[in-house]
Subunit: 293 residues, 2 copies
């Protein structure tokens, strides 16, 4: 039976560490600030922004949420970003995605001052990550790296197989884990929808990361005995027994797989809480950078 990697517990440790640094900044008269921008009424986005805002409050980061209607123009949003770039008490800017169709997401992200881009999505920050000189790592892959390290599963020298090449998780994770740096040095295979024999490749993994967004895709016969399994998927499936009529499952068939693994993350309570913790970490870093501490 594999160990369950407790993302809630590990993320709490990180939050504690961030809180003590935030307190230190406060004693010097600086309050780190994060502004979240929410456009429209996409329900999951409202939930995510609420969670992030609450987490900020827990660690003493000044959190501001700016809400705009669904029909907000691109021009208006860009000029808002310009304002936020100028406000010295705003150290981090988070634009919750997706944006409504009349707004080009890449234009908005490229407008954020890279020094305030705590999501790590600005092309400049992505480029710095590739060069091994990242200022802000994107929160989910960064969280997965921390989860591995703090659960005693250093990726160095391991064969990591990542299922899913998305720009939010799979792609940047493949870069972070294969880099010549502490916490990296893995041999990484990046698989996706066009991969042949994906099951065979998955079974080679010492560390298998599922980030395809396909519910229960990874079955027992795709996992090597003794592998570490990281499940990034968050999928709703119908469940008449459940109060809400659905339940959340990952990309991994947790029940079928867990007993042959060395360690495995649950859904929920695995990768999810780490993303928020790393956002707090990045906001702290942004505040320190901008105050030249």
């Amino acid at each position: 039976m594999g160990e369950i990697i407790d993302g809630k517990k590990i993320s709490s440790q990180i939050k504690e560490e961030v809180k003590s640094k935030i307190d230190e900044l406060k004693s010097r008269g600086i309050t780190a600030g994060l502004t979240a921008v929410l456009v429209g009424d996409h329900p999951p986005s409202q939930v995510y922004v609420g969670m992030k805002s609450k987490a900020c409050q827990q660690v003493g980061i000044n959190s501001e949420v700016l809400k705009f209607p669904q029909d907000t123009s691109e021009e208006k949003l860009l000029s808002l970003i310009d304002d936020l770039n100028k406000r010295s008490e705003v150290h981090g800017i988070l634009v919750q995605l997706p944006l409504p169709p009349q707004i080009a997401e890449d234009k908005v992200i490229q407008r954020i001052d890279p020094r305030k881009d705590v999501d790590g999505f600005h092309p400049f920050n992505v480029g710095m990550m590739i060069a091994g000189e990242a200022v802000f790592l994107p929160c989910t892959p960064f969280g997965i790296q921390e989860l591995l390290l703090r659960s005693g599963n250093d990726p160095s020298g391991q064969h990591v197989v990542i299922l899913g090449r998305g720009n939010l998780v799979g792609r940047p994770l493949s870069v972070i884990l294969s880099q010549k740096a502490p916490g990296g040095n893995a041999t990484v295979t990046l698989c996706h929808s066009r991969t042949k024999n994906i099951g065979e490749l998955a079974k080679e993994a010492d560390i298998l990361v599922a980030a395809m967004g396909k519910p229960l895709f990874v079955k027992r016969d795709m996992v090597k005995e003794g592998a570490v399994v990281i499940d990034v998927g968050v999928n709703r499936i119908d469940d008449p027994q459940a109060k809400k009529g659905y339940r959340l499952v990952g990309d991994v068939d947790f029940e079928g797989v867990k007993d042959i693994t060395k360690a495995i993350t649950p859904v929920p309570g695995g990768v999810g809480p780490m993303t928020v913790a790393m956002l707090l970490f990045n906001t702290l870093k942004a505040a320190k950078l901008q105050k030249e501490i």
Copy 2:
């Protein structure tokens, strides 16, 4: 016996295509221009800049080479870049690396206007590449992609194993070939000095790319029968029989490997000429972009 992939011939085709577009621009009164900056007296750099400049002339690109002494200050070089960014007849800027130790290479590269960064090294351009929206792909990996496509070895659906995670070749190539785009869609494994069982992984490759800078590293027992082998290495080894006292070899033991491959690139005459051809392609693209054509 594997087919020899003729990089000289394929690069000549690309140069012809670029030349005809350059001629078209000229008929509209526009001459594409590339300025190369060479600092110090590193002999291979002088050879490379000479080759690039000559290739520009062949296709009708206006080529300028600015040479500076070894003790040039960083400040002076940065202010030169500012000038080149402003000059409207300079569409592409190429700073030949390496630079002398008193100059921070990343500072210089970040100073280049991303729209003139025909090497594709600016973090903004690297970030855009990751996002699948590249303006300028870095020339060597871009050349390898073209070499594969034009020799009838589309990487789509193939397992590509890349040996070497450097920022000039291995790393960006892993991104380009695994992207969800024509010429991409490969399953990519990125190996490096910390990879265990590198021989076994190499042997899984449908397309094997050697970019470690280790002379004759890839031996026959590391190559699957029928694989395509791309050799990026250019290494000098002593050879008393040769006129210059040395000869060039790749990272692949060409003689030992060639007869079990489907196709293989020679050294020299494989990847090398492609790098220069893609630089011309990028300079043409830069001129069109800046003239909004």
